[in-house]
């Protein structure tokens, strides 16, 4: 790309001069993918997330082969051990192996993040598409519902929902998603409203395509870029939200480790062992940083509004 003015000129349709066929345009997806691949740092960040996810999935293997400890096994004779050979990253106030807990904590923290994204996107997309597509009173009812959900102070929802459903990875994801789906719905609805007006939708409609088919086959692909961007930016944010909820005592409850509750837990022992604060803090930082970088890369590559 060589700058806006240049592009404008090159792309200009020639009214009086037949320019012949333009160079074949790459499809939007190929182009986006190419742009993403060109972003080395973004790809590296993405791979790091994948790596962490793999570690999380294989956590039992790691505690069997690498650390030789279980995440919840306590040993009150070996509390606050500094990092060393026996415990690579040391132990916490109950003598549990920090590395093992970090690995198992990845299951929870990343699991919650991915699950939350999946849930809020699927619910939000469905609601947003239905509202945007049908319009009228369906739209009104659904959007007032969205307004309502978005207007309840999130903290009340978090507190009360966490009491209603004891937080484990699944319910916590559901709790966070119960706040998150609303904005997705708004986003998707907006996108659908603009796509709906385009000729091809009207054409498809006129040949009598069923609504469901139309939404899935024609609207969804158009909304997809927005969703991809939202998803990749969402993961990091949800890890932070999860950590904040742990800090407020509304997240994953001990003894199940999550990065957030490990970090929260360690705060009171900061004076005893800085490592306890450092390792989970660093893990969260690196993960969120990576997913934000990846998310930004994805946005730069996929966001149709940033094209050109």
């Amino acid at each position: 790309m060589i700058g806006p003015s240049r592009v404008a000129e090159l792309d200009m349709p020639a009214a009086g001069i037949e320019t012949g066929a333009a160079r074949p345009a790459q499809s939007y997806w190929n182009e986006s993918w190419e742009r993403l691949r060109a972003n080395r740092i973004g790809i590296a960040a993405g791979l790091l997330i994948v790596l962490f996810a793999l570690i999380a999935i294989m956590a039992p293997l790691f505690s069997f082969a690498l650390t030789h400890y279980q995440p919840q096994t306590i040993n009150l004779d070996e509390t606050f051990i500094r990092p060393g050979l026996r415990h690579l990253l040391g132990t916490d106030e109950l003598g549990r192996d920090t590395l093992t807990r970090l690995i198992w904590g990845a299951r929870v923290s990343l699991g919650v993040a991915f699950l939350t994204v999946a849930m809020s996107l699927s619910v939000g997309t469905t609601v947003g598409m239905v509202a945007g597509y049908y319009g009228g009173w369906t739209d009104d009812v659904l959007m007032r519902l969205v307004d309502t959900v978005l207007a309840i102070p999130a903290i009340f929802l978090f507190i009360l929902m966490s009491i209603l459903f004891r937080p484990n990875a699944f319910t916590l994801a559901a709790i966070v998603a119960s706040v998150g789906w609303g904005s997705v719905a708004r986003l998707v609805r907006g996108e659908v409203l603009s796509v709906k007006q385009r000729d091809f939708i009207l054409a498809t409609r006129s040949i009598g395509a069923r609504d469901a088919r139309l939404m899935v086959r024609h609207l969804l692909p158009n909304v997809l870029p927005v969703l991809i961007v939202a998803a990749s930016l969402g993961v990091g944010q949800i890890i932070l939200i999860e950590a904040a909820l742990d800090f407020l005592g509304l997240g994953i409850q001990p003894p199940t480790p999550s990065w957030g509750n490990m970090l929260t837990n360690a705060q009171s022992y900061f004076f005893r062992s800085g490592f306890l604060v450092a390792f989970p803090g660093l893990t969260i930082f690196v993960t969120v940083l990576a997913s934000n970088i990846f998310g930004n890369a994805v946005r730069d590559a996929f966001d149709p509004r940033l094209k050109s």
Binding site: I74, E93, L94, F247, P254, P255, S268
Partner: protein
């Protein structure tokens, strides 16, 4: 870091009052001394108790300056008859004196009263004589009418709409209050009730000339509750910045002499880490210290640490209601005893409370004069004994390693409140310790309100873990008497023993302290055998006090509301 301190207010502090304090002899001395002291203390003793303070200083007190006391619990009300939480009581105690007060070992001393009251021979009537020349901070005389009015709020049917948490007891026990003259108060009780003075003699006295004209409902919402215009304690109210601090200043009319300090400020902090940090920076002068933070402060030159046992214990309770699944398991005494034998409680005290607390042998705290050091059954850590008890009772290990009897597996869930680190840790230690003897116990953390609901009414739990904070009287009926197993009572474990009921009732209606001591001794023996809700440890209280502050004297019964030395506190730099 605990996040629900506000929800948990009174409770939460236990965990901080940790212990270890391997000075077992100190505990004994306190307990023993308390036991042998006579019930009646003289004025001379009172002076000794309140004038000097902790003995850390020898210099002459200076007038002027201020103290900032930090705590991580917000207060709710400044009306002594509406308050039910320790934080509020603590601030109320700075501004309002009651008829009586505690010495730090829990002995009663006179405050607004001249002497401890004389009880009538039938034990039903207490006659208080007020000190001469008592004045409110506005200069009006404080009379027996004020005292009567204060108690009326909680017992007189005329004030039935006042939302006082004291009404249950007071309306039951007070028959009438007479004021034959402005300095005399005669309280007649409906029945002999031994803890009456220790439990109900300390409420801050309220000014009738301010509140007397209001009806019940208006008292609930009076401005006085948030901004008391008139006080009778060491300090006067200045302002309350909600969520932040309460500022108080010297009350020149205080009966024990005007405070050295110009101001006392109660500041609300986010959590125990903040208390530690701000003790270090000097943003606060006084604050309760978490056992986990003790070492961080011990090395700080500018802060002196004060540690002492408190009438608080942390215990777990079995659900004994035979109608529940858990009740069927825990009805078996062998199970209850075996589980306790399987816990290495010394290790819990050492590792989780960093030694700031002591393993409990009895259900009475060692701060009590009724404390029995060695009740009938002692439970030292003995895994083999635990296993043989279970084997003997017919609980045998299945193929999955979990014991079962008659098809019922020895598995249950343990609940406590989320956000309380020490309790969370204890559940995990219990889970692992019991797993080692073939018992599957699953920890589950719930919010404090839900825990309270479980304990006082819903009662679908298998086992809960909490702390309890006692007054100076050894009565423990709220937890162990069957009449408190009704909804709303704290005997959520549904412990029902006719023998225990009888002993507790008898002890309540006995005024003779030695007789009571015998009864409570029997009670402790019985409980050590039954172990319906074993006490894991007795907590310690730790206060960090900036060295510029002199004249404080924290002790088991002088931490929150009761501090006879408030007015005698001073600061070396006069700032």
């Amino acid at each position: 870091m605990s996040r629900d301190e506000d929800a948990d207010s009174g409770f939460q502090r236990f965990e901080r009052f940790l212990d270890e304090w391997s000075r077992r002899d100190f505990l004994k001395r306190t307990g023993g001394a308390a036991a042998y002291l006579t019930f009646i203390a003289g004025g001379a003793e009172f002076l000794e108790a309140c004038a000097g303070g902790g003995g850390t200083q020898s210099a002459t007190p200076k007038k002027g300056g201020h103290v900032v006391e930090g705590n991580f619990t917000d207060i709710r009300t400044l009306n002594s008859m509406l308050s039910s939480d320790t934080a509020s009581n603590q601030v109320i105690g700075l501004m309002f004196d009651g008829l009586l007060n505690y010495k730090k070992n829990g002995d009663l001393v006179p405050a607004l009263a001249q002497d401890l009251p004389k009880a009538s021979s039938d034990g039903l009537t207490y006659t208080f004589k007020l000190r001469n020349g008592l004045k409110w901070s506005d200069g009006r005389a404080l009379t027996s009418d004020d005292v009567k009015f204060t108690y009326q709020l909680a017992y007189d049917p005329k004030y039935a709409d006042v939302s006082s948490p004291r009404r249950g007891d007071l309306s039951k026990y007070i028959k009438s209050i007479d004021t034959p003259d402005p300095q005399t108060v005669v309280i007649t009780t409906t029945q002999v009730y031994a803890p009456f003075l220790a439990s109900h003699g300390l409420y801050g006295i309220l000014p009738k000339h301010v509140l007397g004209s209001l009806d019940s409902k208006a008292i609930n919402s009076a401005d006085f509750n948030t901004a008391p215009s008139v006080t009778n304690g060491a300090f006067k109210f200045v302002k309350w910045d909600k969520g932040q601090q309460v500022t108080m200043e010297r009350n020149p009319n205080y009966w024990a002499g005007a405070s050295y300090l110009d101001q006392w400020i109660y500041k609300v902090l986010p959590d125990s880490v903040a208390v530690t940090n701000q003790l270090k920076t000097g943003e606060i002068d006084i604050g309760p210290v978490d056992p986990g933070q003790f070492d961080a402060l011990k090395t700080v030159d500018s802060v002196a640490m004060s540690e002492f046992p408190v009438p608080t214990f942390t215990f777990y309770a079995y659900n004994l209601n035979p109608a529940t699944a858990a009740g069927k398991i825990f009805q078996d005494k062998a199970v209850r005893q075996a589980l306790l034998f399987a816990l290495n409680r010394q290790q819990i005290v050492t590792a989780i409370f960093f030694g700031h607390g002591s393993v409990a042998n009895s259900v009475e705290p060692p701060t009590s004069w009724a404390y029995k050091d060695k009740p009938k059954v002692l439970y030292s850590f003995d895994k083999a004994k635990a296993e043989s008890l279970l084997d003997g009772a017919g609980w045998v290990k299945g193929s999955d390693g979990i014991r079962a009897k008659g098809g019922v597996k020895l598995k249950f869930t343990m609940i406590t409140n989320a956000g309380n680190k020490q309790r969370e840790s204890m559940l995990q230690v219990m889970q692992q310790s019991w797993h080692d003897i073939g018992v599957e116990a699953t920890p589950s953390l719930i919010q404090f309100p839900q825990l309270v609901s479980q304990i006082v009414s819903i009662r679908t739990f298998d086992m809960f873990l909490v702390g309890f904070n006692w007054s100076a009287d050894p009565d423990e009926a709220p937890l162990y008497h069957s009449r408190n197993a009704v909804p709303g009572g704290f005997n959520g474990a549904d412990f029902k023993s006719d023998q225990v009921d009888q002993i507790l009732d008898q002890a309540l209606s006995t005024l003779d302290k030695n007789k009571r001591k015998d009864l409570y001794s029997q009670f402790q023996d019985l409980m050590s055998d039954e172990v319906p809700s074993p006490v894991i440890l007795f907590n310690n209280g730790i206060y960090g006090v900036g060295k510029r502050v002199q004249g404080t004297d924290f002790g088991p019964f002088n931490q929150f509301g009761q501090r006879p030395w408030n007015h005698a506190t001073w600061v070396t730099d006069g700032k």
